[in-house]
């Protein structure tokens, strides 16, 4: 069973590599953010898989927290890129509803 877990982990690593290539190639800033978002989601899955490979049940909390932080980080980066300021609101703001 460990072999299957390791293969799945490798597959996720491959996905992360593909996302990194897209993040490096761009061409727009949004392509890079999409790639980083995918990378973050895959990190959560890799941490969950590593929990089972190593048997350290505590690691799952890391994945849980990362899943939440990843989303907030993406939205924060997006706002920072658009508004150049996390506290400012105005035209084109993604958080203006």
């Amino acid at each position: 069973m460990t072999a299957v877990l390791v293969i799945a982990t490798m597959a996720i690593f491959a996905t992360m590599a593909l996302a990194l290539i897209r993040a490096l190639k761009g061409p727009t800033i949004y392509d890079r953010i999409v790639a980083v978002n995918v990378f973050g989601t895959k990190t959560v899955l890799v941490v969950a898989l590593i929990t089972y490979v190593t048997g350290h049940a505590d690691l799952i909390d890391v994945a849980l927290v990362y899943a939440l932080i990843n989303f907030i980080a993406i939205v924060a980066v997006l706002k920072l890129v658009k508004m150049r300021d996390l506290a400012k609101a105005g035209e084109g703001d993604i958080t203006d509803g």
Binding site: V34, N37, L45, A48, I60, A67
Partner: protein, 119 residues
């Protein structure tokens, strides 16, 4: 016996999840414009995550670990569309032109690979 069935099922889920991850990554790399890449990112964020988490859940049975895994899945499935929509919205406001076939004129479509003004 039941143990073997669960193990095989779990292995199928995990491998399928990995395969969908790679397919989504490939799409992310090969699709021509930003908006179609969002769809490829969607593949890795939905089915890939669902299959991997289900595969792991089958391995641990009912325990605290399972609850946490399902919580991770819930968070991922709630945040993924929100993040995708925020990205699409931001790109639209920033006038990243989608390469569309129907609707809209095509003369102001950016050439493939042309960097946007935002870099």
């Amino acid at each position: 016996m039941a143990e073997t069935v669960i193990n095989v099922l779990s292995a199928i889920f995990l491998l399928a999840g990995g395969a969908f991850g790679i397919l989504g990554g490939l799409g992310l790399l090969r699709f021509p414009d930003f908006y179609s890449r969002l769809h490829a990112a969607g593949v890795t964020e939905t089915l890939c995550a669902v299959l991997i988490v289900l595969g792991l859940v089958l391995q641990s049975g009912f325990s605290l670990l399972t609850i946490k895994l399902l919580l991770i899945l819930l968070f991922l499935l709630f945040t993924a569309p929100t993040a995708t929509h925020a990205l699409a919205r931001a790109a639209m406001v920033d006038e990243v032109e989608p390469e569309v076939i129907a609707k809209q004129s095509s003369e102001n479509r950016p050439a493939p690979g042309e960097p946007s003004s935002n870099i």
